[in-house]
Symmetry: C2
Subunit: 301 residues, 2 copies
DNA sequence: CTCATATAATTGTCCTGGACAAATACTTGA
DNA sequence: TCAAGTATTTGTCCAGGACAATTATATGAG
């Protein structure tokens, strides 16, 4: 069996690093250094792809690419270690609840039962307000430390999604005001934020219409009008490139009728600059307050 | 308010047409013809973005870009019409059930109730084997005819997903063999195929571990080993670029231990050439048969 | 005339190497 | 110690060329 080489779009798929950026890194830093086929096209060996993923993970922790690429492999690997100490102090409750343990043990059934148990013992509202954000954070941080793999994060997300959807589905269908349209913009594929807000708002008697993730802007506008939404709510995960968020939200705001409110939330827009006509929420609690404000405004009219 | 212009990556986001392709179209066909800002960067007016989406839809029906771009707007619009006749004949049962009607009326609540009703009256197995594929096809075809918008398709997908997940969650958790690992490759974001197979296999007593969509190949392999999967099952939608599927599957096959079976299915790989060591399924019924074969093989050992 | 094969056109994706603007780090002076 | 200005770093865009894979068309055999 000949050695496996991946072409540049496969590497983009696998790592999330754009083709242009991969070529730029090669030009500037000399890494990655793919082989070339007869036609001069790049072919990346698997170990380089792995290293790209490691670099990307370290970058998300604040390291800069130029620094990382100039480091030999051993020092690079060492960078993931020191932070592991933080685990001992932080998120004890997450550890206590055993979610990370179950993840590491690859016990899908046990994890599902654990989440369900937490849901039932806390109730949906408290589960969503406290437990889920804490677990999300713990899993995200463990991933940043390199303690859990991408597939383990996928598994967590899938099980949490199943748990939340199960709970939402069991709620009596709400038909009251306001009517919220929930979705994410293209390139934002994280769904848990949407489900959390859907659960909370449905509990409060608001009508939620979710489009799932990655709706083109034009379609968000069309949907808002067709569904007679009072509010459009967008969720941005920490993984969303923060410099894209501002312009994107501004554009959506300008294309949406002024009568429709625009709410944005999630780690990807936390402590962002405020935008005119956009309500920015740092926590889920903010959303509940915003709902109360909306209803007060309605009443006053 | 000045006219809104989108930059090239926003257009890629909105339309799904790669940047390179957008530039190539402009070079070769003279469309799109974006404006330029001070720095010489492209800015696409909204109507051109709309036209790009229309062109992409027509391309998915088999039209070729060179042909389409040379056509004036009226003739382009006319191309979506003739096929509408087909609706009268095809998919009567879908129409009878009213799903498309509800979608066009934007009645999310009504649609959800309708799906639940169908599920309960048919039972999960028949719902998944017959009804869901039919509805998926009807919605997909209506989209190709331009009768429903992207956001309406999103809404359908979301409600169907909620329905299926609800049903799966209500099943007694299976822990028998085989153990199936379910996911899709990166760039394949359609989840309904996964949920359908998860429902069927769980009904048959197989253990399903789903990673959701878009798992990098390396992580599919890691997950398969960590979860001690007997079978890895991948779903490909019709939207998946068919020429990418073959190499991708081949690569995964070669990276996966030989003891783990690889099943692939969905419209994106239907009537594909067979690959060594890969079981290709054209229908969901095939999956049930493959399961029986697997169990026979086990028994014989 | 029908089908298979060879040739031509079409089309997407990759390439190089240059440019620039935004984000980040560093320096300087109050 | 902090704020403002300067330098560096970094990602994304651009042009225009090349090529391989797909699809259409022409040609010839049965």
């Amino acid at each position: 069996m000949s050695r496996l080489l991946m072409n540049i779009s496969a590497v983009e798929r696998e790592t999330g690093v754009l083709k242009d950026t991969l070529r730029m890194w090669e030009r500037r830093y000399g890494f990655p250094q793919p082989e070339r086929d007869d036609g001069g096209e790049r072919g990346y060996p698997l170990d380089q792809v792995e290293k790209i993923r490691l670099i990307k993970r370290l970058m998300s922790k604040g390291w800069r690419p130029g620094k990382l690429m100039s480091l030999p492999d051993e020092e690079l690997a060492a960078l993931t270690q020191p932070l592991a100490v933080a685990e001992a102090e932080g998120d004890q409750s997450a550890l206590q609840s055993g979610v990370l343990d179950q993840l590491r043990k690859h016990d899908a059934g046990g994890l599902r039962d654990l989440l369900r148990h937490d849901l039932h013992s806390l109730g949906l509202q408290q589960f969503v307000l406290d437990k889920v954000p804490m677990l999300n954070r713990a899993v995200g941080e463990a991933w940043e430390r390199g303690e859990i793999q991408v597939f383990e994060e996928h598994l967590y997300t899938e099980l949490m999604q199943a748990t939340l959807r199960q709970a939402i589905g069991a709620l009596p269908p709400a038909s009251g005001r306001p009517r919220l349209l929930l979705t994410t913009v293209p390139e934002e594929q994280h769904v848990l934020g949407l489900l959390m807000i859907e659960a909370l708002m449905t509990l409060e008697g608001a009508t939620c219409i979710s489009l799932g993730t990655q709706t083109p802007l034009a379609d968000i506008c069309r949907a808002a009008e067709a569904q007679q939404a009072d509010i459009v709510a967008l969720s941005f995960s920490a993984a969303f490139p923060s410099r894209q968020a501002g312009p994107l939200i501004g554009q959506l705001r300008s294309r949406l009728p002024g009568t429709i409110e625009l709410w944005v939330g999630g780690a990807g827009v936390a402590r962002h600059n405020p935008l005119a006509g956009v309500r920015l929420m740092n926590t889920l609690q903010d959303a509940r307050e915003a709902l109360a404000v909306w209803r007060d405004g309605r009443l006053a009219q």
